[in-house]
């Protein structure tokens, strides 16, 4: 039952990500500012701590492949990236599971690194030619801000769907 709930929630969060495509980019004094949400990725990263790596790797493969085949031009980028970041999160940052602030910092940092990874792959494949400074100022920073706002909601959803016991929950 819990696995079904997690799967359905992941589906919904994927479409929350898609829904933001209608609002972004926002034109600010003739400059396009991109806000890219990574709600699904944040959810899967949190699940790797609170539910276990197997479940989150499975979700990463399924939803990564779905993103690649449905809205991606280059296959494998999301599937491979999500699995790699889930493994990294699970291996390196498991110890922070009781600290909300540390967890928020780690998840947002990994979300930003994930976007940079996709940016670099697109640069290598010569699909985009956005300068690094433009990318950081007009895309990475605004996206980080948006994801920071969304993190609390995703965190609560991840805890609810994972059914984490109270003694494991953060004290903040």
């Amino acid at each position: 039952m819990r696995a079904i709930m997690i799967f359905l929630t992941s589906f919904l969060l994927m479409y929350v990500d898609f829904a933001f495509a209608g609002f972004s980019p926002i034109i600010v004094s003739d400059v396009e500012v991109y806000f890219v949400p990574r709600v699904l990725l944040m959810f899967i990263l949190l699940l790797s701590i609170y539910t276990g790596s197997r479940m989150s790797i499975l979700l990463a493969v399924v939803f990564g492949a779905m993103l690649d085949f449905y809205i991606g031009s280059v296959y494998g980028i999301h599937a491979f990236g999500m699995v790699a970041f889930v493994l990294f999160m699970h291996t390196a940052f498991r110890v922070f599971h009781k600290d909300f602030v540390a967890m928020a910092f780690v998840v947002l940092l990994l979300t930003m690194l994930y976007d940079i990874y996709i940016y670099l792959l697109h640069i290598i494949l010569d699909l985009v030619d956005k300068p690094v400074f433009d990318y950081m100022a007009l895309r990475a920073a605004p996206s980080l801000l948006l994801n920071a706002l969304l993190f609390t909601v995703v965190y609560v959803i991840a805890l609810k769907t994972s059914r984490v016991r109270k003694e494991v929950l953060p004290k903040h």
Partner: protein, 282 residues
């Protein structure tokens, strides 16, 4: 044990990187059709998205109907006035079409402008927006194939690059994939002047058309259409308007900067253009 675990992990990472490279290579090959696995995954994602979106669309359309009903009387009068002219216009169009067809048959030629359009709705846009692309709710079962032109009511917007069972993936004219081999004609005083799309200038948000012959007399305001000479695009699809003309770096030809008619940021309903087979024979 620890060393073995690390070695295993290294092997998994290496294996993953190899699979990633193979997948990238596979997706970037020039293919005319998609595999069943790709079609199934994309259609499953599209189907579930349509189910989830359905209640939101319903509420949205309800509010839209209420908002529009405030201007209904005024709009109704305008439409009624237009409707009175419609039978005459319809008759004129039928007469001209028949006359055109007769003349074409007499001259034994086919038109590069001949095409059918298939209406489609945009159901999804890539949220990371690295490439300007979107997914539409028509696919192989509706007769779509790779390479077909996609229009908005304002003008050309992109190309169908991947066709699934019930959905298709469209890349916009602002990406290099759609610009590949796109031949255009600029209409200046009723005379077509030919060129090729070189790239999309992202800083100025303008399409760059190259290889235009010197002293062609192009001027800002001239309209740009597809030429129908290359690919699946019929002739005469409106692309945009020339805003600037300059000589190329060697002075051998001219480049034109074109403002697109369609708005890439606001695409909702599109028409997929199916070029008639007779028009490809010339």
């Amino acid at each position: 044990m620890n060393r073995l675990f690390n070695r295993n992990r290294m092997l998994i990472i290496l294996f993953g990187i190899i699979i990633l490279i193979l997948l990238i290579g596979f997706s970037m090959t020039d293919r005319s059709s998609t595999t069943r696995a790709e079609q199934f995954t994309a259609d499953a994602a599209a189907g579930s998205q349509m189910i989830i979106n359905a209640p939101f669309d319903f509420v949205g359309s309800l509010f839209g109907t209420i908002t529009r009903s405030f201007n209904a009387v005024e709009e109704n009068e305008k439409l009624r006035a237009q409707l009175e002219m419609l039978p005459q216009m319809q008759a004129d169009i039928e007469r001209l079409e028949a006359e055109n067809e007769e003349l074409r048959e007499a001259l034994d030629i086919s038109s590069r402008q001949s095409y059918e359009s298939i209406n489609a709705r945009v159901i999804s846009r890539s949220h990371d927006q690295w490439l300007n692309s979107f997914t539409i709710d028509k696919g192989e079962t509706d007769g779509l194939t790779t390479g077909m032109a996609v229009m908005t009511p304002e003008g050309l917007i992109g190309t169908v690059t991947r066709v699934n069972g019930g959905t298709s993936y469209v890349e916009m004219l602002t990406t290099s994939v759609s610009q590949n081999n796109l031949s255009v004609e600029v209409m200046h005083d009723g005379t077509p002047i030919y060129g090729n799309v070189q790239k999309y200038d992202k800083e100025r948000n303008l399409l760059v058309v190259e290889n235009i012959k010197n002293r062609s007399g192009l001027s800002p305001g001239d309209e740009v259409f597809t030429s129908g000479l290359v690919g699946n695009y019929p002739e005469g699809l409106l692309i945009g308007t020339v805003v600037e003309v300059e000589n190329d770096e060697y002075g051998l030809s001219q480049n034109a900067y074109v403002q697109l008619k369609s708005n890439a940021d606001n695409v909702d309903v599109v028409f997929v253009i199916e070029r008639s087979p007779e028009s490809m024979e010339d």
